[in-house]
């Protein structure tokens, strides 16, 4: 039999080659770039780490063009530091366990339809970014999604889409509860409107106080705050009350320094130390605060008060939209293996953060696609009740207890003869012979 050794390490120790020769295997070393001319009957042994996942092995099989069941992983990286005798025994045992599988599994790559559903409708920037990446977008006011293979189908219209992007809406809440009397002065403006308001005002020097909640990691808002320094000199005296100033971005430290040099005052203190009241003539807001460093309260009269709002993202109601054979609950990434935009449902993304990053993530998902393997046996871990009917009925002894945390049976596909007895007898209908999709990349839970 022929064995192709795949590993990044080019110099192999003696025990690898000697044992192979002794067991009458002919072998060759395959490197990542040399992927052609493998005999269909050859085994591929990956000299990798025990941490290689099933999906990575499947991807490798696809790249090398061999039956995925003929690819085996030897935990070489973990083993090679052991004494040589130990390595030799482990390697011998591993080589003996290589059994030629009875099934041929056809593996090929499928990519989702290059079309994205936005729910609800996306704004201009998002649509433009998708247009630049040449991904058509669609959106509908009401629909139901159902999964077919790697695609979603938008149901009453029956349009295939490759991915779905959920657009959260921003809910703004002010940093402090503003007293009613302060609102009555009419001197409270939003940050976006501040340059217009100041531009309209007379040449008199104005005092503007900004209240920034902590933490406030919205770079657009901070850009506006730092840009207040470049207002015309008669414009305003600006005082920024914030607990933390956001500088962790390219060029922000420089902008912060320039703003301070230009006369914008930054006072770092918790906003609970600030009290607000209207002035007697109801045309200004009196801001009183105690700085962190000294005990004397400071009082200033603000012509304009700008509460910079904290924003929270609210997801659109998605659970009523997705149609599948069993209940799927949308979960947001608590699992860090997911990309920041991904959810537990492969192909469903949430549009927070940078638009460009999102488009890169989605287009990567659409291009990478998934590996479709036809002829695999699939065990549904949630349905399997461990009744072991299959174990008793299997004629070839291919059923194994996988022993992982989910506690379901596993099918050793090297031994399985695809007779279908277990699938027929399983009371929970947990074993199915079907097409398996392996979604590539980090787009899965």
């Amino acid at each position: 039999m022929q064995v192709a050794l795949f590993g990044s390490d080019r110099s192999l120790p003696l025990w690898v080659t000697e044992e192979l020769e002794r067991m009458a295997f002919s072998f060759e070393v395959v490197t990542p770039e040399k992927t052609k001319a493998l005999l269909p009957s050859s085994f591929v042994v990956v000299l990798g780490s025990a941490l290689l996942t099933e999906d990575e092995v499947a991807e490798l099989a696809l790249r090398l063009g061999v039956n995925p069941l003929r690819v085996a992983v030897f935990p070489y990286e973990e083993v090679r530091d052991l004494p040589e005798e130990k390595c030799r025994t482990l390697w011998q045992g591993f080589l003996r366990s290589l059994v030629p599988p009875k099934i041929d599994v056809a593996a090929f790559r499928v990519t989702p339809t290059r079309r994205v559903l936005l729910y609800p409708e996306g704004d201009e920037r998002l649509c433009e970014a998708f247009a630049r990446a040449r991904i058509p977008v669609v959106s509908f006011p009401s629909f139901v999604l159902s999964r077919k293979g790697v695609d979603f189908h938008v149901m009453p219209h029956d349009i295939p889409v490759g991915a779905c992007v959920l657009i959260p809406s921003l809910q703004e809440e002010p940093p402090v509860v503003l007293p009613r009397e302060v609102l009555d002065t009419g001197r409270v403006v939003a940050l976006e409107r501040l340059p217009q308001v100041l531009g309209l005002s007379s040449l008199r020097k104005m005092c503007v106080v900004l209240l920034v909640p902590s933490p406030h990691p919205y770079p657009e808002d901070w850009e506006r705050i730092f840009a207040l320094a470049s207002l015309p000199p008669q414009g305003a005296q600006v005082l920024v009350l914030a607990e933390e100033v956001f500088v962790a971005r390219e060029g922000f430290e420089e902008a912060f320094r320039r703003a301070r040099e230009a006369g914008v005052l930054f006072e770092k203190l918790p906003l609970s130390r600030v009290s607000l009241s209207p002035s007697l003539d109801m045309r200004r807001v009196v801001v009183t605060y105690t700085p962190e460093k000294d005990p004397f309260p400071v009082r200033c009269e603000a012509h304009w008060l700008v509460p910079v709002s904290r924003k929270t993202c609210v997801l659109p109601p998605f659970d009523k939209v997705l149609l599948s054979d069993r209940e799927v609950v949308l979960e947001l990434p608590e699992n860090p293996n997911l990309l920041p935009f991904a959810t537990n449902i492969p192909g469903v993304f949430v549009a927070w953060g940078d638009v460009e990053d999102l488009v890169v993530t989605v287009s990567r998902y659409l291009e990478e696609g998934s590996i479709q393997e036809e002829g695999r046996v699939r065990v549904d871990a949630e349905r399997c009740a461990l009744c072991l009917t299959c174990l008793r009925s299997c004629p070839t002894g291919a059923i194994e207890l996988s022993g992982d945390l989910k506690r379901c049976i596993a099918v050793n596909e090297a031994l399985c003869a695809r007779c279908g007895i277990c699938a027929g007898l399983c009371p929970a209908k947990a074993i199915t012979f079907e097409v398996v999709h392996r979604v590539l990349g980090n787009h899965r839970l």
Binding site: S8, E56, P215, A248, E292, P340
Partner: protein
């Protein structure tokens, strides 16, 4: 002489992401100076407590693992001389000659060398750690001595936001790793009290909620100490309070060091005649075939490094298609 389409210099997560994304789109070769792939990110440790703090180290590990089996690489060599040709570059490394059409510099960053702050290193150096040293200890689970500590101080902005040392930028990672380390230490050793000396905490990006909780569990002082002195049973932190110098005692101190350009990045900047910013980070010209990504262009966390590398590989695909 070997001919490739894209030569990636640097085998950290940025370089590996670019090289894996370009697999099958053209000939890609990766050069790494050290003997192993992975760069700075493989030295970091997962900082999860009973919940995930989203430090991104596991994503970096996954990138490295994929890169190790999927990317053609040469380790132990780095470019020594470059000649510009009509269509590309001829590069002489330690042992061979290469010709490449496009070059990606992903030579990365290193922690700020704390020796440049001698005022923080008075006395012996057994109870003063840098953040990266603590990460390495956490990774090797070598934290026995911390069980005896009752009080701990984190000093932020060591080597960042310091215009006098020509490092007037925020390193973007130190506040977050400090808070994650603090949360992890408090989870392991609940009796420990942690103080943080900082200018402002830059809590942003992934896992803000968890970091906010961590920030509430520590005591924060808004001033940086001007000196640290270590003796047999603790460290004295000298800090200015109300205009007077005060000394506070701690069992150990962690210095949250920032990121500066690695020696490799500095060398590449000279080799390719690229302009440099504060901290030695390079600014690539976009027009002549030399690209840069990752922490070579500025301090970044793992997630944004991977994103930048993916964006760059999109651009490179367009170049290769031409």
């Amino acid at each position: 002489m070997e001919r490739v389409d894209v030569l990636v210099v640097g085998g950290g997560i940025a370089g590996l992401t670019v090289a894996s994304a370009l697999q099958g789109k053209g000939d890609v070769l990766l050069l790494e100076e050290k003997a192993y792939l992975g760069g700075l990110a493989v030295e970091l440790s997962c900082k999860a407590t009973d919940r995930c703090l989203r430090c991104g180290v596991c994503r970096a590990t996954e990138v490295v693992r994929k890169g190790r089996i999927g990317v053609e690489s040469i380790t132990g060599e780095s470019p020594r001389a470059v000649v510009r040709e009509k269509r590309g570059f001829r590069i002489t490394t330690d042992r061979r000659e290469l010709a490449a059409r496009l070059i990606v510099l992903a030579t990365g960053a290193v922690p700020f060398p704390v020796e440049e702050f001698p005022q923080y290193l008075w006395g012996r150096r057994e109870r003063i750690f840098t953040g990266f040293e603590l990460e390495r200890r956490l990774k090797d689970s070598n934290l026995e001595e911390f069980a005896a500590f009752r009080s701990l101080a984190f000093v932020q902005c060591v080597g960042s936001r310091n215009a006098r040392k020509r490092l007037g930028y925020c390193s973007q990672v130190c506040c977050r790793y400090a808070l994650r380390l603090a949360a992890n230490l408090r989870f392991r050793f609940p009796e420990i009290t942690i103080d943080v000396y900082s200018m402002d905490l830059q809590v942003l990006g992934d896992g803000q909620e968890a970091l906010r909780d961590a920030a509430l569990s520590v005591f924060r002082y808004r001033s940086l100490p001007f000196a640290l002195e270590e003796d047999a049973d603790g460290v004295t932190v000298f800090v200015e309070v109300d205009g007077k110098a005060t000394g506070r005692r701690y069992d150990a101190v962690v210095l949250s060091v920032g990121l500066v350009a690695s020696p490799g990045t500095q060398r590449m900047a000279e080799l390719f005649h690229l302009p440099q910013r504060e901290g030695g980070f390079i600014v690539p010209h976009l027009w002549d075939g030399v690209f840069a990504c990752g922490t070579a262009t500025g301090p970044k966390d793992i997630t944004s490094t991977i994103f930048e590398a993916e964006k760059l590989s999109k651009e490179l695909q367009a170049f290769l298609g031409r």
